[in-house]
């Protein structure tokens, strides 16, 4: 039979209580009763002593006066005590051990019973008393020496005493039983109730396991169970939030993988398709040349993608060395590239005077970073009114490069996904313009390597501002020419 926790507690508690309580009660009762019996015995013995004294007194007088025999005296005493409801006997014991009853008020049936006991307890030096149990009840038998050969025996009926004691025991037993039963009942209900919070907690856990992730346990009071409930809730929160994070990460992984596969398969499809077309189809020379042109373009695209992926993996392994260099030549190159592209797209491009600042970095990566971002800015522009500009903010502890465009802008959602490989806010246009979808991912990696911060501010239909902040090697001394922007 499987027992529940509260049932085990219940049985254990009940058992212990019954054991200790009843045990204690009975021990106490027993000890009290023993004391009581002892007292009665003592009282009987002291009464006996008193009688013995007066008998001895008389015996002395008789020896002196010789008017009556010992036997008569004994008989008189025996009768006298019998009137007082005390059963007595006078015996003599000679040297050979023979007993002679000289006077007795003890009824025949009793004598037989206690004869053996009495013979054994006769002692010439002291009183001795024994309790004996006969069919007629309990008796206390006291024997006292009167002189060398005479003994005085008193038999007291202890039956009422023992009956009293017995009824006391019955009472105690009853009392203990009642209390135990009462406790059994009350304890049962109390403990069962105490186990409810645990059951509820268990049910809550099951609900959460079944999928109701927002369910939490009730926390009432300040005891161990409420602590358990509270800890349990913490655990549930933590697990649920980790699950959600995992789901998001998994979704992201799937998205990246889908995008990657798309980015690679698309140019491959074009290359294979046109190659097949060229060789199998009944087409003109002109068509063949066109097809070949496409194959070359798409091969270049594949190469760009694989190039960038390689760069990404190299950067992840941090095999790049950072040296102190001036940003002036870097921006000279960037300006050249971007202004040429801008001219082709008939867009305006402007760049502020480049401050002569030195930062730790890799020249090629930095050039790549700024060119990429500026190129994206150009791609975002929609008509000839739009422009791209690069400006600088020099702060005591950092250099901030700001690349701004007045192009299409992006929503918050799109900005969040920007660093993801292959993510494009506007798919069609960016791919047409030759993008591989890895540009910003690379930029994020480059920024990370340079311990720089990359922040995008964008508003739909207004434009985008990209802030790239580099920590300076040594903080520059404050001069009046610099604006301190806090």
């Amino acid at each position: 039979m499987k027992l529940r926790f509260w049932q085990k507690t219940y049985l254990l508690t009940l058992l212990l209580f019954v054991l200790f309580f009843c045990g204690g009660v009975f021990l106490m009762a027993f000890s009290n009763q023993q004391k009581f019996i002892s007292k009665e015995k003592e009282s009987a013995l002291s009464q006996q002593a008193y009688r013995v004294d007066s008998i001895k007194n008389d015996m002395g007088q008789i020896q002196a006066g010789r008017m009556v025999t010992l036997a008569d005296v004994f008989t008189t005493y025996s009768d006298y005590y019998q009137q007082e409801d005390t059963l007595t006997e006078f015996r003599s014991l000679d040297d050979e051990g023979n007993t002679l009853v000289l006077a007795s008020s003890i009824p025949q049936e009793l004598t037989a019973k206690f004869d053996a006991v009495v013979q054994n307890q006769l002692s010439p030096t002291q009183d001795s008393g024994n309790v004996l149990l006969t069919e007629n009840g309990y008796f206390f038998c006291i024997s006292s020496p009167l002189d060398d050969s005479h003994y005085f025996i008193t038999v007291i009926d202890f039956s009422p005493l023992f009956a009293e004691l017995r009824s006391q025991r019955v009472f105690y037993t009853l009392l203990c039983s009642c209390i135990s039963v009462l406790l059994a009942v009350v304890l049962f209900f109390v403990l069962r109730r105490i186990s409810y919070p645990l059951q509820r907690l268990s049910a809550t856990a099951d609900k959460i396991a079944g999928g109701a992730l927002s369910v939490r346990a009730e926390v009432k009071g300040h005891d161990e169970i409420s602590e358990l409930a509270s800890s349990f809730n913490n655990m549930a929160e933590s697990v649920v939030s980790k699950m959600e994070a995992l789901e998001i990460a998994a979704e992201q992984k799937e998205r990246i993988s889908d995008n990657l596969s798309h980015e690679i398969r698309t140019p491959l499809t074009a290359i294979q398709g046109y190659a097949e077309y060229m060789i199998l189809a009944n087409i003109t020379e002109e068509e063949r040349e066109k097809a070949l042109g496409y194959i070359i373009e798409e091969s270049q695209r594949l190469q760009k993608i694989s190039d960038r992926m390689l760069k990404l993996s190299v950067m992840r392994r941090e095999e790049v060395e950072l040296l102190p260099l001036s940003i002036v030549p870097i921006f000279e190159h960037v300006a050249l590239t971007i202004s040429a592209k801008a001219a082709k797209q008939k867009l305006r491009f402007q760049i502020e005077r480049v401050p002569d600042i030195t930062i730790n970095g890799d020249e090629i990566l930095l050039e790549s970073l700024f060119t990429n971002i500026a190129d994206n800015a150009l791609k975002a522009c929609r008509n000839t009114d739009d422009f791209v500009s690069i400006s600088f903010r020099v702060l005591p502890e950092e250099l901030c490069v700001v690349i701004q465009d007045t192009g299409g802008g992006m929503t918050e959602e799109e900005v969040k996904k920007l660093g993801e490989p292959f993510y494009r806010p506007d798919k069609a246009r960016s791919r047409k313009a030759g993008g591989a979808g890895l540009g910003i991912t690379l930029c994020c990696q480059i920024a990370l390597l340079h311990k720089a911060k990359l922040v995008y501010f964008s508003k739909l239909d207004v434009g985008t501002e990209v802030h790239i902040s580099f920590p300076l090697i040594e903080p520059l001394p404050l001069t009046r020419e610099m604006e301190v922007i806090s």
Binding site: D258, S261, H262, R265, T266, L268, T269, A270, Q272, G273, Y274, E276, Y277, I279, L280, A281, N282, I283, E287, Y294, E297, E298, D426, K427, A428, R431, K432
Partner: protein
């Protein structure tokens, strides 16, 4: 000859598919994004729509769900996962082909879908030869020409894949089946017979190292 819509946002691939379908005798129209594709479907009667799944605007899947017109669909896409295939087929697509694909495979699948919807061509005219597929008859200048079953099948295959070269192995598999134990030269023999019976020596061309092609 069917009217087919090709919806694919990659211009080069769109062009590729269109050219190939035109070679084998279909009429094509193309769309470069989802919204245009959907509106074209609703405003025209296409016999088949080839939809790329990952397109800007509406995706191929969304178009399949939103369209009111009852037009058969083949999804073309780079997404190879089982779940994508299942979604595609569950949305009621008639077929699903993944990139990169062989053009002959695409044409075969297009033909299969058209056959199911009875939109495939019933006859074909080349010069003075008329081939009628539904009644299994070939006529030259009005007169019946007797062809063996294999010869007819060969002719049919060449016509359906016209302007595209078919290798001997491919022809053997398609017409004689994978279990055929005989000589591959039986293909050549049959080609010879077709050429002489129909006098199409120029049209049924041998493409060096590749096989045979019906130029039309």
């Amino acid at each position: 000859m069917a009217k087919i819509l090709v919806a694919e946002d990659e211009e080069k691939i769109n062009e590729l598919i269109c050219k190939n379908l035109q070679l084998v005798g279909h009429k094509v129209e193309s769309a470069l994004n989802g919204e245009i594709a959907l509106s074209l479907i609703e405003n025209n009667d296409y016999d088949l729509a080839l939809l790329d799944v990952m397109m800007p605007g509406l995706s191929g899947f969304e178009i399949a769900q939103k369209k009111q017109k009852d037009v058969p669909i083949i999804f073309v896409t780079a997404k190879d996962g089982l779940s994508s295939r299942l979604s595609g087929l569950n949305l009621g697509a008639d077929d699903y082909i993944t990139k990169p694909f062989e053009i002959l495979e695409l044409i075969a699948r297009v033909k299969a879908v058209l056959r199911r919807t009875h939109k495939q061509e019933t006859s074909f005219q080349l010069g003075d030869v008329l081939v009628e597929f539904d009644v299994h008859r070939v006529r030259k200048n009005g007169e019946d020409i007797t062809l063996t079953p294999k010869e007819f099948e060969l002719l049919e295959t060449l016509v359906v894949n016209r302007n595209l070269a078919l290798s001997r192995d491919k022809l053997l598999d398609l017409i004689w089946g994978y279990d055929f134990d005989g000589d591959i030269r039986t293909v050549d023999v049959h080609i010879q017979r077709l050429r002489s019976k129909l006098e199409l020596k120029n049209e049924i061309a041998t493409v060096y190292k590749l096989g045979y092609r019906l130029n039309a």
